[in-house]
Amino acid sequence: MSSQPEYLSRLLDEIVKEEREIALMEVCGTHTMAIAKSGLRALLPHNLKLLSGPGCPVCVTAQGDIDAVIELAQKPGVIMVTFGDMMRVPGTTSSLQEARSQGADIRVAYSPLDALAIAQRNPDKEVVFLGIGFETTAPAVAICADQARVQGLSNFSVFSLHKVVPPALEVIFSMPDMKIDGLICPGHVSVVIGLEPYIKLVEEYHRPCVVTGFETQDILEGIYMLIKQIRQGEAKAEIQYQRVVKSAGNPVAQQILEEVFQPSDARWRGIGNIPESGLEFRPEYQAFDARKRFNIADREDIPIKGCACGEVLTGKITPQDCALFGRACTPLKPIGPCMVSHEGACAAYYRYSPPTPSKKG
């Protein structure tokens, strides 16, 4: 058996042999980070492109939705509970962090279970959990809503901005100006959804999909599996990351998602509305829907001047192509969400391949 460096080098040799123009897209923020950190892009030939897709839940949240969240957080009597990576995301006029500094009660939590506990401790307050995340996160939130129902917790609600990944992949495959030859599919979203959604995608769009892990070796194997299929003219859904992902996914998680949520329209930054890509509460759980409880109307998306996060999220440009990248927009002073979240493509590129000072912008 060969050593790991030898194996990696053999994999890379096989990949580099490919001479066709091939564009592969990853749709998971952790892949974005892992690929940037591995330095793989620099090792791959120019004909093989690795593009970052809409894989960071914070980054794909529409500007109008962020504005609505910030406004709700400022309502008297509301405690907003959120994952930490939302705090610095800029809204049109403010951010959750700024709102907190001006007196809004906004708390960072590790788990939606923390929001339930806060609601129990503060019966005279309205506790709103900010539900952002894909299929990895949404089952946890669904269980909390179910638990709140069982406990009769009437001061708990969820502002659901949850999204599901497969409808966005369909849009990416359907874009007339995009040519994606294969997908590096998200490892931990697939722990929940399994392989079936990708089987449907390959049947419809005839492009290979490989669920891939996060080690450099996983990513190289995933890329190799995609290229092998492309060479052989095949399009199959496969799992490279078999150590963790099962074909059936997690049926318990799928069932609780199905019980609590139903598909709804959702707006994605850079893409717009995608039918059935959001998760809203089913009628039995509507009491926990913060949008209904607080009569929140849809807000218009006001674009951030000069920010190209939308194009970055759909793989149309790389972060370095944005005029603001590394100049007006840095992790310390981010203008767009892709530079805020540490799994955003801009933050990952900035960290691992920062702009050269000599380059004129």
Partner: protein, 84 residues
């Protein structure tokens, strides 16, 4: 992020909770998504929930990877709460 953190089940508690060891820290997580899990097994934890059972070797390599990825100035630590 969508990357779960591995932990070892130390005790099964009431109300669908389990006590887990995550890189030397003990914490409660919900096992409602992995109801079949047993003491001494490893799980992939995301947002306070055990998402999947994994073997010890995978748990160890996942923790190693997280430490590598988190070792930069923008991430504040392994347990940074995030939406992914």
């Amino acid at each position: 992020m969508c990357l779960g953190v591995p932990g070892k089940i130390l005790a099964i508690k009431e109300n669908g909770l389990a006590l887990v060891d995550v890189d030397g820290n003990q914490m409660d997580v919900s096992i409602r998504l992995t109801p079949e899990v047993e003491i001494n097994q490893y799980v992939l934890i995301h947002a306070g929930f055990a998402m999947e059972i994994m073997d010890e070797e995978v748990a160890r390599e996942t923790m190693q990877l997280i430490k590598e990825l988190e070792n930069n100035e923008f991430a504040t630590g392994v347990f940074e709460p995030s939406a992914g």
